[in-house]
Amino acid sequence: MAVVENLPSPSAERPIGFGRLKRKEDERFIRGQGTYVDDIELPGMLHGAVLRSPYAHARIVSIDTSNALAHPNVAAVVTAKDLETLGLAWMPTISYDTQAVLAGDKVRFQGQEVAFVVATDKYSANDALSLIDVEYEPLPAVVDARTALDPDAPVIRDDKSGQRDNLATPLWEAGDEAATDRAFAEADTVVKRDIIYPRCHPAPLETCGMIADFNPKTGQLDIYNGNQAPHAHRTVYAHVAGLAEHMIRIRCQDIGGGFGNKVPVYPGYVCAIAASIVAGVPVKWVENRSENLLSTGFARDYIMHAEICSKDGKVTGLRVDTIADHGAFDSTAQPTKFPAGFFHIVCGSYDLEASHVKVKAVYTNKAPGGVAYRCSFRITEAVYLVERMVDALAREMKTDPIELRMRNFIPPEQFPYETTTGWTYDSGEYAKTMKVATEIAGYEDLRREQAEKRARGELMGIGVSFFTEGVGAGPRKHMDILGLSMNDGADLRVHPSGKAVVSISAQTQGQGHETTFAQIVAEELGVPPEDVEVRHGDTDRSPYGLGTYGSRSTPVSGGAVAVVSRKVRDKARLIAATMLETRPEDLAWEKGRWYVKGDPEQGAMIEEISERAYSGEPMPAGMEGGLDAQVIYDPPNLTYPYGAYIAVVDIDPDTAQVTVRRFIAVDDCGVRINPMVVDGQIHGGLAEGVGIALMELISFDSEGNCLNSSFMDYLIPTALECPDFELGETVTPCPHHPLGAKGVGESPNVGSPPAIVSAVIDALHETHGVEHIDMPCTPARVWAAMQGRPEPPQ
C-alpha cells in the first residue's frame, strides 16, 4: 500500500486544493486560441444581419424586401410575416412577458428587430439591409418612465389583450408599511432623497452572437452561442421551436465576458435558428457594437424616492418608492417570485426597526432589459440607495459616515439575522471588516489631508460604503426562472487511473471555472487539480442547471461539486475497507487517502481505489463497480457576502473632472477557493463600478433616440481612469455552504458606486453646498452640481 510520502507535494504554487493556482484556461487565451462564437466557421454557412427600427415608436405600414432579395448574394429575407407561419413571431422573455422576434404591427423601441437578411457573407448581408424599404408611421414615444402611467400616455403594449396602460407588472411591495410609519413618527431625524440609478449597459467586450445549424435530415439543431445559461436557453428554444430538448445541443465555448448581458434569449438568436431551419444550412449572426448597446439587455434604470430616519443616533426606518423602467418588453432577469429582483435587500447591513419598499414597473419606448449587470438581481440598486441614504443621514446628523455605520451594523451575535424585508443573512462580522478598510485607507490621515487641501482650495472627497449582498440563487422552494428551479447539477467521474472529469452546469465567461472547480475536487479528493478536467458549456455533456449570473457559480455549482466529491469519497471509503480488509468505520481520511486508524501505514490512495473500482477484484457487497457520482444541489439559503469600501477622489475645481485616486476594497466572501481569482474578480467589478459612477450611461432624447450606441459615447473606463485598487479581506465562513464559501464576483460592482458618489459629494458639500448628485459623475454633471443646479440624467 502506498504511504503518505507518495502524495504529490502541495506548495503555494501548486496547491492540492485551495490556493493561488494559476489558471488552466490561460494556456489558450494567451496564444489567441480561445474559441468565441465568431471564430467558428462551418461548411456552407450563411451570414445573417438584422434590420432595426430607426424610430422608438411607430406603426409599420409596409415592408418591401424585393430589392434586397434581388441582391445576388442574398439567400433570404425574413420578416414577421414569415415568422408567423412558423409560429416564431413572438418569444417568451425570462419574466413571463412576450417579445416580438421581428416587429410586425409596430416598433416599440429604437433598434428593435424588423427584418433578418441571410446572405453568403456578412458584407453582403449588411449591404442588403439598406435595400429593404420599410414605411413607418411614427407614434408619440413614452421616454420618461415617470410619465408612462399618465392617462394620455400612448399604450405601448397594445399587442397584449387587456393592456390599457403602461404598467408592466403589478405593483410590488415588501416589508411592513405600518411599522415603518411608526418608526418615522417616532424618529428625531428624517432625510429624504430622490435618487436615480440610471440606465447603463454591461457591454461585454465580445458582443452577442450565434450559429444555428439545423440538420433537416436528422432534425438535430446544433447551436454555438455565448450565453450564461445554456441549459435554460435550450429549454426555451425547445418550447419556441417545438423541438424536443434532446434534439437541441448548445455549445458555449469561450465567452468574451457576459456580466448579465448574455443571460437573455435575444431575437437575433431566434432569427438565426428560424433561418437555419428554413435554409437547412448553418446560419451565423453576430451583432455589432451598436446593436449590442441599442437592443440587448440594459441594466438598472430605477427612479427611487427614499426616506431614512433615526432616533437617538440609531437608524430606525427606511421607506422606498421606486419606478422601474423596463423598456418595451419586460425581460428583466430575476427569479419568478421577485418581480423587483432582490431589491428589498435595501435594508442593507443595518439593524433597522422597520422598512417598506414599493416598486412600480412600467413600459417605455426603450430597449428591453433590466438584466443584472454584474449583480444579483437589483441588489446593486438596493445597495446604492441605502448607502447613499445612510451617508446623507450621517451628513444631516453631522456624524462621521463610518461611525454611524459602526453604530448601526447588525452585530455578529444576531446572525443568522432576519431582516425587516424577510431575508435571512447567514453570517457576518461587519465591524471587523469596516475596521480593516479604515486601517488600510489610513482614514484619519485622509481626513487630515482633506482638511489641509480644503484650506488650499483643493477638492478632495472620501466616500464610504458597506454592502451586504444575497447571492447564489437559489433554494428551489423560493426561486425559479420560467418554472425551472435554480439548482445545479454536478457529475464526477473518477477514471481507473485516478484522473477525474467533473461536469458542471455553471457557465464561465472568464471567471476561471476550469481552474477553481478542479480545485474543489482536488481539495475534497486530495488529487492534483491538473488531474481534474472541468467540463462545461455543452448541454450534451453537462448536467442540467441554470448557469452563471448573480454570483451563483460558487454558492450553487461549487456546492454541487463539493457534495458530489464527498459522495465519491464516501464510496471510496467502502471500497478501501474491502481492499484493506477492515470496516469502513475503522478508516480515517487524509487528503487523497483512506488509512487504517491506529496503523497509518495501511491505506489506499484514491488512484488505487479507483483502479480497484474498475478492476475484476471484488467490490463491497451490493456495490456497483466504478467511482462516479452525480448530484443536484439545492442550496438551503443564499450566501451573504459583504464588504467595506472606501473611495478617495480628487476633483479639478476648474474642469470638474473627478479622479478616483485610491480605492480600498475589503471583501468578506467566506472561504476563498482561489484567492488570485477572487482578487481578479474584485478588480474587474471595481473597474465597472468606476465606470458606472463616472462614465457609463445609456440616455435618450425626447423622441426616444438612444444617445449612447457606440463606445464613442458609451464610455468605459480604461487603465487611466482606474486606480491601483487596494484590497483587503476578512474571512467569515458561510455556515451552510459545503465549503464555507460565498459568491463574490459581483460584490465590487455592487459596493463601489455609492462609495465613489459619496466621495464626490464629500468633496463638494462644504465648499459648494452639494447635497446630492446622480450618476454618472461626468465633468458636465459635476460642474452643474457645483453651480447649484444638479440635473438628473435623461
Binding site: K22, R23, E25, D26, E27, R28, F29, I30, R31, G32, Q33, G34, T35, Y36, D38, D39, E41, Y123, A203, P204, L205, E206, T207, D254, I255, G256, G257, F259, N288, R289, S290, Q509, G510, Q511, G512, M676, V677, D679, G680, Q681, I682, H683, G684, G685, L686, A687, E688, S710, F711, M712, I716, T718, A719, L720, C722, D724, F725
Partner: protein
C-alpha cells in the same frame, strides 16, 4: 483588388474587396482568429495588431492599406515553443479572465516594451489606455507588463 503583405513573417497575397477591413482579412481570409473584434469605432482595442512594429486597430485599417507592410498578430508571439515574456507575464499575474481583450493587450504591451524596455506604471497605463478590458480592472495587466519587462531584460542580459 490584390493585396500583398507580410503577416507573421510570411508573405501573403490575396484578392480582396477594396473596402475589406484588415481585421476581417486577418480573421477570415487568413483564418487567424486570435485577433478579435469588439467595437467598430477603434475604441476597444480587441483588434490591435502591429503594423511595422506599431500598434494599430485593425478594425479601422483597410487591408488594401497594408500593401507591402509588415503585420504581426498574437499568433506570432510564441516562437519555437517559447512564450513571449508578455504572454508569460499575463499568465503569472492573472492579467486575463475571459481572454477576449488579451491578444490586443499583449500586442500593445509588446510594442511598448520594444520601444521602452523599462516602462513605469504610468507609462504602461498610458500605453494600454487605447484598449478596454471589462474583466481585470487593469491592475494585473499593469503588473504583467512590468513582469515581462523585468524578465525580458534578464533574458537579454543573459543573451
Amino acid at each position: 483588388m490584390n493585396v500583398s503583405m507580410t503577416v507573421n513573417g510570411e508573405r501573403v497575397s490575396h484578392d480582396v474587396e477594396p473596402r475589406m477591413l484588415l481585421v476581417h482579412f486577418i480573421r477570415e481570409t487568413l483564418g487567424l482568429k486570435g485577433t478579435h473584434w469588439g467595437c467598430d469605432t477603434s475604441n476597444c482595442g480587441a483588434c490591435v495588431v502591429l503594423m511595422d512594429g506599431e500598434p494599430v486597430k485593425s478594425c479601422t485599417v483597410l487591408a488594401a492599406m497594408c500593401e507591402g507592410h509588415e503585420i504581426r498578430t498574437v499568433e506570432s508571439l510564441e516562437s519555437d515553443g517559447e512564450l513571449d515574456p508578455v504572454q508569460q507575464g499575463f499568465h503569472e499575474l492573472h492579467a486575463l479572465q475571459c481572454g477576449f481583450c488579451t491578444p490586443g493587450m499583449q500586442m500593445t504591451a509588446r510594442a511598448l516594451l520594444d520601444r521602452n524596455p523599462n516602462p513605469s506604471d504610468e507609462e504602461i497605463r498610458t500605453a494600454i489606455s487605447g484598449s478596454i478590458c471589462r474583466c481585470t480592472g487593469y491592475k494585473n495587466i499593469v503588473g504583467a507588463v512590468r513582469w515581462a519587462a523585468e524578465h525580458e531584460s534578464t533574458t537579454r542580459q543573459e543573451a
